[in-house]
Symmetry: C2
Subunit: 226 residues, 2 copies
């Protein structure tokens, strides 16, 4: 007697469990290759690409840098990165709203890892799903831009909980928005007491030195741990 | 179960559901109930709630309005809507980054449909996934705010393809951003020649009359089709 004529598959849970194992595999692989991977996440339009371009320029040749641009479609960001002379690949996610560990691995395997020290993965613009998928990065960095509002930690808590760093971007336009930085910081710290927070403007460069110092220090600490 | 000020309903994505069939079922159900459903979508921080509040005020009692607020977590938007004296329920998506048709149906069944003409569903802030899930709404309205940038149709094409209306929000801060409205409109129209586009500021009300006229006309046409 057939008690179970069909199987009910809880796809999300299975996918997430597999993902954690694949993320650990990526992390081990990147440690072997001595490549520091940054997973950069935010809503669409928060300034991921502008922040990335200025960060690469600020690191000023001290690291051999590569970039993986993840998008549902298009290649405008990859073109912008390529114009800096940095090796970049464009990953199309096939409709998926986030990068997972196996997609990241496929991207990494297309990069010339022997010639790189640091890779930035610019994730799909999305404040929800990328937070659920560990890709095996050494650090997770999220951007919240001032026009988005200071209430975002209340509505999208997971992203703030899993990130090592929050960059509060677009300080240059702060005067025309009603954004309470103190309240935002408190909301983020309530979710994640260890999160490091830097206010900056990727457009003007205001606030960049502290973020760059933190990033270089994180790379140094990671290398010592190898 | 108290409907006012608002209820918090824990919904969860039904992974095996045939979303399109359920969306059609919702559409039929809403036609029987003579309730016009608007699916309002955008990135986090584009101004969905502010636009919604001003739209409700602009409709000025000419329709009996209800609201379903969908969020991964929190209830700040539901509280804002409730302060207008409008019936609202807060839908928690259980981690899901979008509303699907069955989650929407569960919300609709908790609303007092006999006493409503129009329901606004404020979807989860996400420019990717909500575009993939028809919820059975009469119209899909998306917001792109000027700080997000004019390149978004290139990177998130599905949202622009499936929407009936694009609201270009935050015109009040246009002077401090490098946003090419003409290029943005052309990119959206290339994806979706029929999309209606209104530039407005939910903060100041600039541009609202044209959007409100369109919405009232859409409601009238829909009622005639019943």
């Amino acid at each position: 007697m057939e008690l179970y004529p069909y199987e009910i598959l809880e796809t999300k849970e299975a996918v997430l469990a597999d993902n954690d194992a694949e993320a650990e595999s990526n992390r081990k692989f990147l440690r072997e290759k001595k490549v520091f991977l940054v997973n950069l996440m935010s809503s669409p339009g928060s300034g991921k690409t502008t922040t990335l371009l200025r960060t690469i320029r600020a690191l000023n040749g001290r690291y051999r840098i590569g970039v993986m641009e993840a998008d549902v479609d298009g290649d405008v960001d990859a073109a912008a990165v390529a114009s800096l002379g940095v090796p970049v690949i464009q990953l199309h996610t096939g409709g998926s709203c986030h990068m997972d560990a196996s997609m990241t691995r496929r991207g990494l395997e297309r990069m010339d890892l022997e010639s790189l020290d640091v890779i930035f993965l610019e994730n799909v613009g999305n404040l929800v799903c990328p937070a659920e998928f560990d890709v095996g990065a050494a650090v997770r960095v999220m951007i919240l831009s001032i026009p988005e509002g200071d209430d975002k930690p209340l509505k999208y808590p997971l992203m703030f909980s899993v990130s090592d760093v929050m960059l509060i971007n677009k300080t240059d336009v702060a005067p025309v928005f009603d954004f309470d930085t103190e309240a935002c910081v408190e909301r983020a710290k309530t979710l994640n007491p260890d999160i490091r927070i830097f206010s900056l403007s990727a457009l003007t460069g205001d606030g960049f030195p502290a973020w760059i110092d933190w990033l270089e220090d994180a790379i140094t600490r990671w290398r010592k741990s190898l």
